[in-house]
């Protein structure tokens, strides 16, 4: 099976040897400490590392007291939802948005208020209208190289959204797992940096280092950490201590920027190659985004091809992708496909897309159109 379906980072870039070395050091120097229960907010030196890195990167003044270590961004979404959402409460989401985000929030039975996502960011008029009519508890967004669309909010849209957040006292959950995986264009400031008092800014080591460690963090509005920590503590006492120590040792004993630079170069090559193969093989009526980072392309199919039909045919031929429907709270999206480029070889990218092209053309020729 050639899979463009998963959201998997490229394992070729996992720093296996370096993490093995860090693990040995941690066991030898802090063995008993790392294996014991620990504080719910997370390992202070790791929180300090995070606070320092992003204070420097964006010329901010983040305190380690405002940082909480989590078991990955998914946990942050779950805990923020738990803190804010009661059944029926409104929550603004992008259309499309991250499937795992929808799942986490759905556990608290909110009313999803979807807003269109354009190439430069969300539709601000729709956000404003939702604020006026539905008093949403928060907005969930992924401004950098969104999963699934790969889109990135422009600087202008970030500034305008920040103004809106202030005006309507709207809380933002800014999910930013691909922050460090920009391979084209200029870095843009997180929305957190404009409105730190209203934004939960969540980051992840899954794409920077490795997802199997299940490590992320959240930078919180001042004074919010004790509330978040209390909610987190009730779900898991604290995050995995061993992973926290290994990760901190790895980050402080290796050149993380060199490591990230390798990932970025590699992902750019994979992304460019996938775009090239799409242009070469797929029908000209198929459109794709052109992401400046992250791990995904987002295809828009012509009306006569339904992605839910296409996937059945492709899976029979050994190729998988995620049909767009999963990323819409409204349950639509049959015209879209999410394509992961980070976890396939050049050879498989070409082979898989050729097969997809054949199946698309067959569907077009049959004139199949079961779009609802």
């Amino acid at each position: 099976m050639i899979s463009f379906a998963g959201g998997l980072p490229n394992p070729e870039f996992f720093p296996v040897k370096e993490l093995e070395k860090s693990s040995v050091e941690v066991f030898r120097k802090q063995g008993k400490q790392v294996l014991q229960y620990a504080g719910s907010q997370g390992y202070l030196p790791l929180r300090e590392w995070i606070a320092h890195r992003y204070s420097q990167k964006y010329n901010m003044n983040i305190s380690p007291e405002e940082v909480v270590i989590t078991g990955g961004s998914q946990q942050t979404i779950d805990i923020v939802s738990k803190m804010f959402l009661n059944p029926g409460d409104g929550v603004i989401v992008e259309k499309p948005t991250y499937l795992g985000g929808i799942q986490a929030m759905s556990g608290y039975s909110p009313e999803f208020l979807a807003v269109d996502l354009n190439s430069d960011g969300p539709n601000l008029e729709q956000i404003e209208s939702h604020c006026l009519n539905h008093f949403p508890k928060f907005m969930y967004s992924i401004p950098n190289f969104q999963n699934p669309s790969g889109l990135c909010y422009s600087k202008g849209k970030r500034e305008e959204l920040a103004v809106l957040l202030k005006q309507y006292q709207l809380v933002l959950l800014e999910d930013d797992p691909y922050n460090e995986i920009r391979f084209d264009g200029d870095d843009l400031r997180p929305i957190f940096s404009y409105v730190p008092e209203q934004v939960f800014w969540t980051g992840s080591f899954s794409k920077m280092v490795a997802p199997g460690l299940r490590m992320g963090w959240v930078v919180l509005p001042k004074g919010m950490a004790p509330h978040f920590v209390k909610a987190k503590q009730s779900t898991d006492l604290h995050s995995n201590n061993l992973s926290q120590y290994i990760l901190h040792h790895f980050l402080t004993n290796n050149n993380i920027d060199e490591h990230l630079s390798k990932i970025r170069k590699g992902y750019k090559l994979q992304c460019d190659y996938m775009k090239e193969m799409i242009t070469k093989y797929l029908p000209k009526t198929v459109q794709t985004t052109s992401p400046q980072g992250g791990m995904f392309l987002w295809l828009t199919l012509p009306d006569e091809i339904d992605s839910e039909v296409l996937i059945h045919h492709c899976i029979k031929k050994g190729v998988a992708f995620v049909p767009g429907q999963s990323f819409f709270t409204s349950g639509k999206g049959n015209q879209h496909i999410r394509m992961n480029f980070s976890n396939s070889s050049f050879e498989n990218i070409e082979k898989g897309i050729k097969i997809m092209a054949e199946e698309m053309i067959k569907l077009q020729q049959k004139g199949v159109s079961i779009l609802v």
Copy 2:
């Protein structure tokens, strides 16, 4: 500070070197695999090890398909609560019960239906009455060496409770983190073994191996795993992969029963010594439980000593414990104290209890009685 407050295992028994070795092996042989995203139900070989061990121990037929790996028992309590509880729903709890359990369930705003805990188990009449009047969604209990009381349900009470569960179709969340830490008496079958179709039986590696790994599991009623996994996935995608692999390697390459035997012997010595010092120094009117396993003693104070007052005096003198109030959903419990014996040296046990004795006697002499 001499602390009898925390619920910490004795770090002297952490298998630091063995885990270091397992960690190196895992990185070398399965580095890329262990660092990648993984399935939400957990690492199959680890689930197989758990299914095999407890099938053998209790002559049952547990399938790995019914086992889910969690980030510790705390997560199981949170997820089961999320699955079953809506605001106002009834949930039966022991009086007293585990503080973290109260916190996890409280996140879903249930009505706590407390039942008295006697030396041989819970008051069954009260359970029956709650079933008849409140239709509780489930009962949460810790039948082995309960935190905080150290009490253990008798064989007879287990059987009678099993009958009640069946009669009222009541689901049980059987929290069993101290199962392997029995240092006196005969092992008793889990209630799960009597009513496997209605019991969520949750175990933990925190006391068997080390809590810093944040690893536990739950054995589920047949057919329940997909529902539990879906709820868990929405909170964290999956449990820490590195810890799962290290733990599995450790368990299959070391003699776990020899390891557990050391812990049991050590804890028995610590428990016996603490009981001895209590008898030697504390007022004769102070009663204590006499646990056959686990990590806690539970003291009942004479009326004239309030544990909330005592703790303030003791902390000033450098001794900590947990006043009983935290373990009651009703907010009472001022006559009780939880004492952890597993994380203190003999020297500190004697020193700390002497100080507690002095403060208790002072309070008695002052005739202080602020019990409400």
